[in-house]
């Protein structure tokens, strides 16, 4: 039976669906009793990319990962890897390896033996096994620690062993379950870049599960945002961030200012929205097809807002408000403001100069404004 040639759903315009995805998830559903953990998910993953499944805990991302690994059997749908249907294939026969969140290193084996474990299951000759183990340990910079046991390693070193153990079999697909969650912040940043470097070097397709949007943004070529068992949006990190499709995505990935309103007019390239919370018409030149009178939300990222003491010349996208909180964060300063209508606003400004004598203070009345191209109109 030849697989159908249709491009899987879930791909929104903006991330060119290439013909023939390397990994195809087709209508996969998983229910536990009356709980639906994964709800009819269809997804295509390209060869050699890092794809992140991003979602809060309990959104079904880990269940989907476990279905890919073969630990869970999907209630419905199927998974194809490189054209092969994985239905009914046990984990030990899949061309897939996983790096567990807890790393799951064998405590009774040395680093070397842990890494060699997978190759020994495949009955690969001793000489080749030791060569590949050596190469892999070199790649993750653990060569000198080959004879150590897992408990003699630091968290970061254990993570490298887990990565080496999963990669040494040259899987078609590598699954990473919250790969950096157990590491402290500094190490996490370092490992993010190292993971990318290693991935580019070995060329294996990565599927990463994470709840950390920053991690997803840094690591991935594409992100699939999950909520309540469904993929709500897929796209490149910048597509997800700059053109979120729903309020959920806009709020989950980064922070956002949302204004609820109604479409009142549509002129050349602009959508004009009337909004009580803003107190002025809002113009947006990006977003959706919407009819007159539709209820919509205007989303603007905090860093795209300007703050000024004098009223800007444009009479739209301009909200008079008072600064209620200022948080200095070194590289940027976060402002919280309250508009006359009572709406809360969040603005972040980069600190470009070392000392800004003209900065705004708490309690000051200012104008918040933005360019029509900076906002996105959402219908759901």
């Amino acid at each position: 039976m030849s697989p159908p040639r249709t491009a899987p759903a879930g791909d929104l315009p903006g991330n060119e669906p290439r013909c023939g995805h390397y990994v195809r998830i087709e209508g996969v559903t998983k229910t536990f009793g009356d709980v639906t953990a994964v709800d009819d998910v269809s997804l295509g993953i390209h060869r050699g990319e890092i794809f992140c499944l991003l979602g809060s805990s309990g959104c079904g991302k880990t269940t989907l990962l476990r279905i890919l690994a073969g630990f869970e059997t999907a209630t419905g749908g199927r998974v194809l890897i490189d054209g092969d249907d994985m239905t009914g294939i046990p984990p030990y026969e899949r061309p897939v390896n996983i790096m567990f969140q807890s790393y799951a290193l064998f405590p009774h084996m040395t680093v070397e033996k842990n890494v060699a474990f997978g190759l020994r299951q495949d009955r690969i000759a001793a000489r080749e096994t030791s060569r590949r183990v050596r190469d892999m340990l070199g790649l993750v910079r653990l060569g000198p620690l080959a004879r150590r046991r897992p408990h003699q390693l630091s968290g970061g070193q254990r993570q490298r062993v887990a990565l080496a153990r999963a990669l040494v079999k040259q899987p078609k697909l590598l699954l990473l379950d919250e790969p950096l969650a157990a590491l402290d912040r500094k190490l996490r940043e370092e490992m993010q870049f190292e993971l990318i470097t290693i991935q580019k070097e070995v060329g294996v397709t990565f599927v990463v599960v994470t709840h950390d949007q920053e991690e997803a943004m840094t690591l991935s070529d594409r992100i699939g945002v999950m909520d309540a068992g469904k993929i709500v949006q897929t796209g490149t990190p910048s597509a997800i961030y700059e053109s979120p499709g729903t309020r959920f995505v806009a709020g989950f990935v980064g922070s956002v200012n949302l204004f609820e309103g109604r479409v009142v007019a549509q002129d050349a390239g602009h959508l004009i929205i009337e909004c009580e919370g803003a107190g002025c018409p809002l113009y947006s030149d990006r977003g959706v097809r919407a009819a007159h009178g539709d209820r919509v939300w205007v989303a603007v990222r905090p860093e795209k807002l300007q703050i000024s003491r004098d009223a800007p010349s444009r009479e739209y996208n301009r909200i008079e408000s008072m600064i209620t909180e200022v948080a200095y964060r070194g590289n940027l300063t976060m402002y919280r403001l309250r508009a006359a209508s009572g709406a809360e606003l969040r603005v972040s400004r980069p600190n470009l100069a070392r000392a800004n004598a003209d900065r705004q203070d708490m309690g000051e009345r200012v104008y918040v404004s933005w360019h029509p191209s900076s906002s996105v109109v959402l219908t759901s």
Partner: protein, 291 residues
């Protein structure tokens, strides 16, 4: 700091009083000569009429143990019976412990309770119950006769078979409990990792579960082997006259022959034969912990 010293001192003092002191007494008797008296052995230390202290210690009794092959045979036979019983306990106990460790937490409590349940009845009564089960007109023989598999009852009582049944039955919980304690601590994701790396379930068991449960196997085996070697009640009640075990020899020396010095020597020798497996155990455990 003072409280810690105190807390450690109490059990040590206890051991000193109730283990080392009796041991010293037994050792003293073992080194003295037998005589018809009350107590039935010659004093080890004697004050001469001139006030000098005469020590009359001899290794006579230990040499006697070497000369008479009864003792060697009893020791070896005890070790053999204990070893085979331990093996059976391990074979029967491992799947039980594994099953309990893999069951749901609620089922686990019930199953563990069932393992411990026999301890609520006296050990002696439970061994007596086996006499009723195994005897010639007991339920097993009656059933087999009724079905027609056998024409005359199989003699099970007063054989080595009955001794094995008794020991395995009595000591099985001592195998199951430490095994369970170890198996329940093994992280299930390790087995998933093994499967993910291409390991079939049986191989995953052999390469991951089994090595990781080794400390439990060692602990359980020693808990069965050590008391089984010195077991007296089970061979006395279930075994035949030719079931030679060191516990019975010891009993006979003390109470039938009233030869306390030789009996004491038997006891001391048995103790040292047991020290060897304990040391092996400690060594293995130290290795595991170093791992």
């Amino acid at each position: 700091m003072r409280w810690r010293t105190f807390a450690i001192a109490v059990p040590y003092l206890w051991l000193l009083l109730f283990f080392l002191a009796p041991f010293a007494i037994v050792l003293k008797i073992a080194l003295s000569e037998a005589m018809l008296a009350r107590p039935p052995y010659a004093p080890l230390f004697e004050w001469g009429p001139d006030g000098s202290l005469a020590v009359r210690a001899s290794l006579q009794n230990f040499l006697f143990l070497l000369r008479d092959d009864l003792y060697w045979k009893a020791y070896l036979n005890s070790a053999r019976i204990a070893l085979i019983s331990t093996a059976f306990c391990l074979i029967l106990g491992y799947p039980v412990a594994y099953g309990i460790a893999r069951s749901s937490p609620t089922a686990r409590t019930v199953l563990l309770m069932l393992v411990i349940l026999p301890f609520w009845t006296s050990f002696l009564l439970r061994v007596y119950a086996w006499i009723g089960i195994l005897k010639n007109n007991g339920p097993i023989n009656n059933m087999l006769l009724a079905i027609g598999i056998i024409d005359e009852p199989i003699t099970m009582m007063q054989t080595d078979f009955a001794v094995y049944v008794g020991i395995v039955y009595a000591y099985l919980p001592f195998m199951i409990l430490p095994l369970f304690a170890r198996l329940v601590r093994i992280d299930h994701t390790l087995l998933e990792a093994a499967a993910d790396l291409g390991c079939r379930p049986l191989r995953a068991f052999l390469t991951v579960t089994l090595p990781l449960s080794l400390p439990g196997i060692v602990a359980g085996s020693l808990l069965v082997f050590i008391p089984a070697v010195g077991e007296f009640v089970i061979p006395a009640l279930l075994g035949g006259p030719d079931t030679l075990m060191i516990g019975r020899v010891l009993w006979d020396e003390f109470f039938a022959n009233r030869d306390w010095p030789v009996a004491s020597a038997v006891a001391i020798a048995a103790l040292f034969l047991l020290v060897i497996p304990i040391t092996v155990f400690q060594r293995l455990r130290a290795d595991q912990e170093g791992a």
